[in-house]
């Protein structure tokens, strides 16, 4: 092994990166060559000395300061994202195309449901008109038609409520869904999970006032409270003393009793619809707590600096910053308080609707003429209704239909020349040949 070679390997030898053969060669040269040995010793002792230099310890507030900077950065990033022109352009085009698609889809899918809804409403009106002379069965049926629509309606409302609930919730909901799986695995590290429970249900009951009383008692017994209650009479028949009520009651129940109360409520009447949502705010909760800690550190530091500051100018600046920090602290603390409240008490929104079996009443002495008259009226109304439905359906259909036609026309214009070319290539040759053959044969015959 040459000295030059040896010196290249010193470093690797020290780090134990040589294989056995190289190692024995290296060691034999090390014993033989004094100069190389000196070089080796120098490098070896230098590395040892470097290893003896202690690591620098992190400054005391390093971590807290870094986290504070990160929180600030995150806020700035949010702002930048919102005001960024590039993003706006990009997303607006995507949004516009989706909107167009959505409008087409909506107009197509709405057509059926909307017209059927119109039907139901009309039937209801008709039924009311005729309720005097007609048998009550129809009235009963029509009053039962409604809950279906009502349930759908309440679903929509509950969705809207979700969207409008605390700020950031659209993002947080999405986040909470995606994060939940990871959260499960790591719940022990994060500590207590912060989940907000919401439940919506629609019940049909026979005795409205008794049920409301029942729910109130239940709420009090489980140390919850009624947040909101409203009711109204939606159907009345004064002559038979029938007044049917509907209403909404919102109660807040301690989260431990969520399941218990949920089960009890379901038994109160006929359950038409039920809808439960949970919102996981653990992530935001921890983050907000972190921000509070950081701000408190900053506040302490500002106070310390203020003690030392003598210039009025500096004091004013410090005071300004301190006010800002304190305001932020208050905001975050109230956020935490609000979450604590929401997490501790789950919310039940219960829609109640009173229904009654209506005894059919026979029309007194049914006159033949009046019956003919009413059925004639009914048939006129039915015809009108059908015609109206047709016109409505037509008006709904017209835009998608035009678009459909346009697409067909454009498609045809594009495809037509292609088809022509293909046809020419594939078909022309044999046909021409055949025609020529036929012509030749005829000539021969002639």
């Amino acid at each position: 092994m040459s000295c030059e070679n040896f010196r290249e390997l010193i470093s690797l030898y020290i780090d134990g990166m040589l294989d056995e053969e190289e190692k024995t060669n290296f060691e034999s040269h090390l014993k033989a060559c004094i100069d190389c040995k000196e070089e080796f010793e120098e490098i070896k002792s230098m590395i040892d000395e470097i290893h003896n230099i202690p690591e620098k310890a992190l400054p005391d507030d390093y971590h807290k300061e870094l986290m504070l900077k990160l929180y600030k950065q995150k806020d700035e990033n949010k702002f930048e994202k919102k005001s960024s022109k590039f993003n706006f352009m990009k997303y607006s085009t995507i949004a516009a195309s989706f909107l167009l698609l959505f409008v087409i889809m909506a107009s197509l899918s709405n057509m059926g449901s909307k017209s059927s809804y119109d039907n139901a409403a009309q039937k209801n009106e008709l039924a009311k008109e005729f309720s005097g002379s007609y048998d009550g069965g129809e009235v009963y049926n029509s009053s039962f038609d409604m809950p279906g629509d009502f349930a759908a309606d309440s679903y929509e409302k509950s969705d809207a409520y979700d969207g409008a609930s605390p700020e950031e919730s659209s993002a947080s909901l999405e986040q909470s869904i995606n994060v939940r799986s990871t959260e499960n695995a790591r719940s022990s590290e994060i500590g207590e999970r912060k989940i907000i429970y919401n439940s919506f249900m629609t019940l049909e009951v026979e005795l409205f006032d008794d049920t409301v009383k029942n729910i109130r008692e239940m709420t009090e017994n489980s140390s919850g409270y009624v947040e909101n209650f409203s009711s109204n009479i939606y159907y009345s028949e004064p002559e038979r003393d029938i007044y049917l009520k509907e209403g909404t009651i919102i109660i807040r129940i301690p989260v431990e009793k969520y399941g218990d109360i949920s089960r009890k409520l379901e038994k109160l009447g006929h359950l038409i619809s039920q809808h439960e949502t949970t919102e996981n705010v653990t992530e935001q909760y921890i983050e907000t707590e972190g921000k509070i800690r950081m701000l408190e550190v900053e506040q302490d530091r500002l106070l310390e600096i203020m003690k030392k500051a003598d210039k009025v100018e500096d004091l004013i600046k410090l005071e300004e910053r301190l006010t800002q920090v304190r305001t932020d602290l208050e905001i975050y603390k109230s956020k935490i308080k609000n979450w604590d409240q929401l997490v501790a008490f789950s919310t039940f929104t219960i829609n109640l609707r009173e229904v009654k079996e209506i005894e059919p009443i026979k029309a007194p002495n049914p006159n033949f003429m009046t019956r003919i008259k009413s059925s004639f009226n009914k048939s006129i109304n039915d015809v009108r209704e059908t015609f109206e439905d047709f016109v409505i359906a037509l008006s709904y259909n017209i835009i998608p239909f035009v678009i459909f036609i346009l697409i067909l026309v454009v498609g045809y214009i594009i495809i037509k020349p292609i088809i022509k070319i293909v046809f020419k290539k594939v078909i022309k040759k044999p046909i021409v040949k055949k025609i020529i053959d036929i012509i030749q044969k005829r000539r021969e015959q002639i």
Partner: protein, 206 residues
């Protein structure tokens, strides 16, 4: 930290979770700080720059595709940021050995007290440390980064090749040359008298 856990954390960071980011970086804070310290030999700069590195990493996290481990990626950004900063400063500042000693005095003495060394040894050690730092400051960029990663931070050859994005062979030869260069700087600088001290130390050991 195993890779699946790391992936989960990275995904949470991409969605904006700072708590997850905290968990990802907490074990690297000390090392990044020390790397920055070796590059700039100044506590204030080390703090500012290392924090800047973490913020950079946080902002760029959506570009992290998981081709390498998160820590490799983190150290790559750290090294690149340090070198960029070094280039920016080149020409604006010159390093002076006297200044280094002044700025280091207080903290150095404190740190050595823990190790139960005699006062003379403290003085000698302090000298050695600042001399090595002086020599390190005079190494070229590519040598400096490998010496810091290998000898100061104790990274393996393979890790270094991943961080710097070059082959294992390149890393081997670079470390070898960097060390020789560092040693030559120490020996050839006249007012250090490094060579004699090496000898006396060696004799002392024997």
């Amino acid at each position: 930290m195993d890779t699946t856990e790391e992936k989960i954390l990275v995904n949470r960071v991409k969605k904006g979770s700072i708590a997850a980011f905290e968990e990802l970086i907490i074990e690297h804070e000390g090392k990044i700080y020390n790397i920055a310290y070796r590059f700039f030999n100044n506590e204030e700069d080390a703090k500012d720059l290392s924090q800047e590195i973490f913020i950079k990493v946080f902002n760029k996290i959506h570009r992290f595709r998981g081709d390498s481990s998160f820590s490799t990626w983190l150290y790559r950004i750290a090294i690149n940021t340090c070198i960029d900063e070094l280039r920016k400063r080149k020409g604006k500042e010159s390093f002076s050995i006297d200044e280094d000693i002044k700025t280091d005095e207080g903290t150095m003495a404190r740190e050595f007290q823990d190790k139960d060394l005699s006062p003379e040894e403290i003085v000698i050690n302090k000298e050695i440390a600042s001399q090595i730092q002086w020599a390190l400051n005079h190494l070229s960029e590519s040598y400096k980064e490998v010496v810091i990663l290998r000898d100061f931070q104790g990274f393996e050859y393979k890790q270094i090749s991943e961080i710097l994005g070059c082959s294992l062979g390149t890393v081997k030869s670079r470390i070898s040359r960097a060390r020789t260069e560092l040693k030559n700087l120490l020996i050839n600088e006249k007012h250090f008298d490094y060579k004699n001290r090496l000898k006396t130390r060696k004799e002392g050991k024997q």
